[in-house]
């Protein structure tokens, strides 16, 4: 035991002596959380659009004023003819063009109907669709204004209540995701690299012939990183509470315990990666190439899992980050406890044990 | 001194912050000499050598190697020297032949030259069966032999060897020194660092570095007489103790 503690101490010295790496390990997650917390949002705001107004009359002017007053759009340009649309789209300067037909007001008065064409650059389908929806709703509220003197019978109104995030802040959606991704990648990468590094430098063999058990060697290497990751997690949680005003509706203690569970999960994944890779290079490429995109795309961090094709929904089950994001949102935003989150927690525990068992097995095979 | 001096070192110093790794050393090495550069680990041998081969800038002082200044003409120095480090820096994931071709190539040898030279080398070291095996799979002693030969590819005047025989058995070490002598007989100057004191006996002259300074410089015979001892090992121990 004494030897074991001595070994852990050595690992700590190892990490803390390297000021540059330390700075990287603590500094980078903070910078990333700050950056992404503020910058990543899937709201659509300030979209650059252009107007092609064939009428230039009272009604179109009013509509254009309404559009330019909205926070969703900023009018970049007024086009003169249809030919300019293609050029503007190709340059990527604008995302949409509102095309008002000729004699807009006149048609509205005489035929009770006038038309606006909403042309969108749909290479980005999400933005295109959203622009189209937003414009429609601005136009229909203008229409209501026009018709305000006429009462419409048989109206069904809809009262909507938004739960857990009434202001529809996308920060609530992204901060848990950012936290998860950073913890996952940093923890898995750190352990897999530090263990393969010993292998590559040949020092692993020295450790293995020492009286320390292989199990102790691995645990000894991982303990300092658990501490590092926990510190990182605490900093990230503090940032999300105090900088991004994320609520913690649920139990702070449970939040801490679940976070440690997730860190253990990521670290054991890192150990598993290190058992299958012979060099640092392989370990890094597996943990970076293998984890980065799947974790970003299949965890529900940005893209809703329920919208994915069924096979991908199935695959997303094996991404630990998916379950941790559900847990984080549950505790922080919904304020639920283990009663609701036992399933996700069990899955993470199961995965962690699985990774450890598999690493032990691989490890034994190699030693024999 | 045979044919004059080929390395001139004057007041050479290297500091890292507050720490002086090499402290104001001066010496000369003659052409064709086997010059032993001795010292304990951390005495500053490797740092001094790195300045001479042009990959570390001296903090002060000057040095000329093969007639070129190591500060201002480092790249010219590099054309005239061969270097083999304690880490026998060959690529483990290339074969012997590929390593030879690569280093020949970056020294700017002609393609035909590389071909004949590598064949000669393989003949000389009797590595026909191993020539197309990965270096990583060879025993340490062979790697060192190959690394030494690779450092000779471009026919340098001086060969710098940084602890070339670390980690191998006495027989392999002896064989390695035979190779060194063969090159010395061809007129090449050998500059070798080591901490095996028995190897010091093989050198024409040795310098002993302690804590960044050269404490002694002479032939092994003279040094043993001066300190009235039997072996270079005892010379070294005496010197080290005096300093402490």
């Amino acid at each position: 035991m004494k030897r074991f503690i001595g070994f852990i101490k050595k690992e700590f010295y190892h990490i803390f002596r390297d000021k540059r790496s330390l700075f990287i390990l603590f500094g980078m997650p903070i910078v990333q959380v700050m950056l992404f917390g503020f910058a990543i949002t899937n709201e659509i705001n300030n979209v650059d659009i252009a107007i092609l107004d064939h009428s230039k009359d009272a009604n179109t002017k009013q509509i254009i004023d309404k559009i330019s007053a909205s926070k969703y759009f900023s009018i970049k340009d007024f086009l003169d003819n249809e030919r300019d649309i293609e050029t503007a789209f190709k340059k990527g300067e604008i995302k949409a063009v509102l095309n008002f037909e000729k004699d807009f007001s006149k048609k509205l008065m005489t035929e009770n109907q006038a038309t606006v064409q909403i042309l969108t650059d749909a290479t980005d389908p999400n933005t295109a669709n959203t622009i189209s929806n937003y414009t429609s709703s601005i136009l229909s509220s203008y229409q209501e204004l026009l018709n305000k003197d006429i009462s419409i019978p048989y109206q069904i109104g809809v009262q909507t209540r938004m739960f857990y995030n009434p202001e529809l802040k996308s920060v609530f959606m992204f901060v848990p995701g950012v936290m998860t991704i950073i913890l996952m990648l940093v923890s898995a990468m750190m352990t897999s690299i530090s263990i393969t590094r010993e292998k590559e430098l040949g020092t692993m063999e020295i450790l293995l012939v020492s009286p320390l058990k292989p199990f102790q060697v691995i645990v000894g290497k991982v303990v300092p990183y658990i501490l590092l990751s926990v510190i990182n997690a605490i900093v990230i949680i503090l940032l999300s509470i105090f900088v991004f005003s994320m609520p913690v509706e649920g139990n702070l203690f449970l939040l801490g315990a679940e976070t440690i569970l997730f860190i253990m999960n990521a670290l054991s994944l890192g150990i598993l990666i290190s058992t299958v890779s012979a060099s640092q290079q392989t370990a890094m490429m597996v943990s970076l190439m293998g984890l980065m995109l799947p974790v970003i795309l299949l965890s529900g961090f940005i893209f809703p899992i329920s919208s994915m094709p069924f096979p991908l929904q199935v695959i997303s089950n094996i991404i630990p980050a998916r379950w941790f994001i559900i847990i984080l949102k549950g505790i922080m935003l919904k304020g639920v406890g283990l009663v609701y989150l036992w399933k996700e927690t069990l899955i993470l525990v199961g995965m962690t044990l699985f990774f450890i068992a598999l690493s032990v097995k691989k490890y034994k095979i190699r030693l024999e | 001194m045979k044919n004059g001096n080929i390395i001139h070192v004057k007041n050479l110093t290297k500091t890292f912050g507050d720490f002086t790794a090499v402290d104001n050393i001066s010496f000369q090495v003659g052409k064709g000499e086997v010059f032993g550069f001795l010292g304990a680990n951390g005495a500053g041998k490797t740092t001094a050598m790195k300045m001479l081969i042009g990959i570390s800038k001296p903090s002060s002082g000057e040095a000329q190697v093969a007639g070129f200044d190591v500060k201002s003409q480092a790249e010219k120095v590099k054309r005239s020297i061969g270097y083999m480090s304690q880490r026998f820096s060959l690529y483990n994931d290339l074969t012997i032949r590929e390593n030879i071709t690569f280093f020949g190539g970056i020294y700017g040898l002609k393609k035909s030259d590389i071909k004949t030279k590598s064949q000669n080398l393989i003949d000389e070291l009797d590595l026909h069966d191993e020539a197309d095996k990965l270096v990583g799979s060879l025993p340490l002693g062979w790697k060192q032999k190959v690394a030494f030969s690779v450092s000779l590819l471009h026919d340098p005047q001086i060969i710098f060897l940084d602890e070339p025989t670390g980690g191998v058995d006495p027989i392999t070490r002896r064989k390695f020194w035979e190779m060194i002598y063969r090159e010395a007989h061809k007129g090449k100057t050998i500059f070798v660092t080591t901490h095996y004191m028995d190897e010091a006996e093989y050198c024409d002259r040795v310098s002993i570095m302690v804590a960044g300074k050269i404490e002694a410089l002479d032939t092994p015979k003279n040094l043993k007489e001066k300190y009235k001892v039997e072996s270079m090992n005892q010379v070294f121990l005496k010197l080290a103790r005096n300093i402490e």
């Binding site: 899937n42 659509i44 705001n45 009770n112 749909a122 529809l168 959606m173 609701y340 | 280093f103 710098f160």
Partner: protein, 379 residues
């Protein structure tokens, strides 16, 4: 003659790098197979489309009209009608558990009120943790209710009532370049860009520092090789590798996803070469600047995550705060994603991507100058 000699030196480095890449059996699948599998699979995941919405309802009215309304939701492709909740207490509990995302509550006397008072209200609860999805869900709910409303109204109204006097502004949406709003058209080129970038950045980032760690760099430093020769020799193999990956990726995009390639392939490759040089220069700079592969990879990872998430690929740049938008000016992935989409999908020509091209070129020059500068043969 001298020039030839210089070229020769570079050639030997290139040869050596290629041999090392292809000899590493553990790395080959990670470099060539893993990214392409990810492209084929993950491109399907990246969709903001909101569908299969978990929908439940509380029908307090239980009339033919309320059932008709629920039927409308049932018929919609967006909603999976899951549960008929007896009360909103149970509905709320289910929402807390994540079983349901949208709950429609039809009040008692819904039908009677509509017919008698000519006005009635529905209430809808939406799980809004994903704010954007919640907004879309709200739009869908309103759309279905409005259509239902209109249908009911036309059925109930007598001919000639004032409804015809309403002034109506019709909107005709028209989606260019991607009429069906296919997300894959949008995401496949982008994800391909990410994969090419990741592979080239990570490999080049590890490359020199790895030689430093093994000790072979010192051996190279004692040779008279020129700094630029060394860097060019290191750049070239990875450039080829990146282009091969790009090519296979484009073939997958075309065959598997049927992504249109409208623009000039030559222009695309021309830009890609400059872009990959930016990334490689950056990788080699990181590699020169660090002492261990571990450090190099952390730094490369740090920038990679920032570049990916702030590239406009997954979330729009225009919605970022101004300072963040300024930062994205330094994000090479942003330009590459833009250019690939513009050229591939819209058929943009040289004059359209001129600006991005210039910026990328300047970036490439700066990064590679830094790479050469930071490679220190003498310490």
């Amino acid at each position: 003659m001298i020039l030839e000699l210089k070229m020769n030196t570079i050639r030997y480095i290139i040869q050596k790098e290629f041999k090392q890449i292809f000899r590493n059996k553990a790395m080959l699948p990670i470099i060539f197979v893993l990214p392409l599998i990810q492209l084929a699979i993950l491109a399907n995941a990246a969709t903001f489309e909101v569908k299969n919405i978990k929908f439940g309802y509380i029908d307090n009215d239980k009339t033919s009209l309320s059932r008709e309304l629920i039927e409308k939701f049932n018929a919609s492709t967006y909603f999976n009608v899951l549960t008929d909740f007896p009360s909103h207490i149970i509905a709320d509990a289910d929402m807390l558990e994540g079983q349901v995302d949208v709950v429609l509550e039809i009040p008692l006397h819904f039908e009677r009120n509509l017919l008698k008072e000519k006005k009635t209200d529905l209430s809808v609860r939406i799980n809004a943790i994903d704010g954007a999805a919640a907004g879309v869900e709200n739009v869908y709910v309103n759309r279905i209710v409005q259509q239902f409303n209109q249908k009911v109204r036309t059925e109930l109204l007598l001919v000639g009532e004032n409804i015809n006097k309403l002034q109506n502004i019709a909107t005709i949406p028209s989606f260019w370049y991607n009429e069906t709003l296919n997300y894959k058209t949008f995401m496949v080129p982008g994800i391909l860009v990410l994969l090419v970038t990741m592979i080239t950045l990570f490999l080049s980032g590890m490359n020199i520092v790895r030689e430093k760690e093994i000790g072979t760099l010192e051996q190279i430093n004692v040779t008279p090789i020129k700094k630029y020769q060394f860097i060019i020799g290191k750049l070239f193999p990875f450039l080829i590798l990146g282009l091969v990956l790009l090519t296979v990726g484009l073939i997958i995009a075309k065959l598997l996803f049927d992504i249109p390639i409208v623009g000039s392939i030559l222009l695309m490759y021309g830009y890609s070469i400059i872009y990959i040089l930016v990334i490689l220069g950056m990788g080699l700079f990181i590699s020169n600047f660090t002492d261990t592969q571990q450090q190099a990879m952390f730094i490369a990872w740090f920038f990679m995550v920032i570049f990916i998430l702030m590239s406009g690929l997954f979330t729009p740049i225009e919605s970022m705060p101004n300072w963040a938008q300024v930062l994205t000016e330094f994000n090479p992935i942003k330009y590459y994603v833009q250019v690939m989409r513009m050229v591939m999908l819209k058929g943009a020509g040289f004059s359209d991507i001129y600006q991005q091209l210039l910026k990328t070129l300047a970036y490439a020059l700066i990064m590679n100058a830094l790479a050469v500068y930071s490679y220190k043969k003498v310490t």
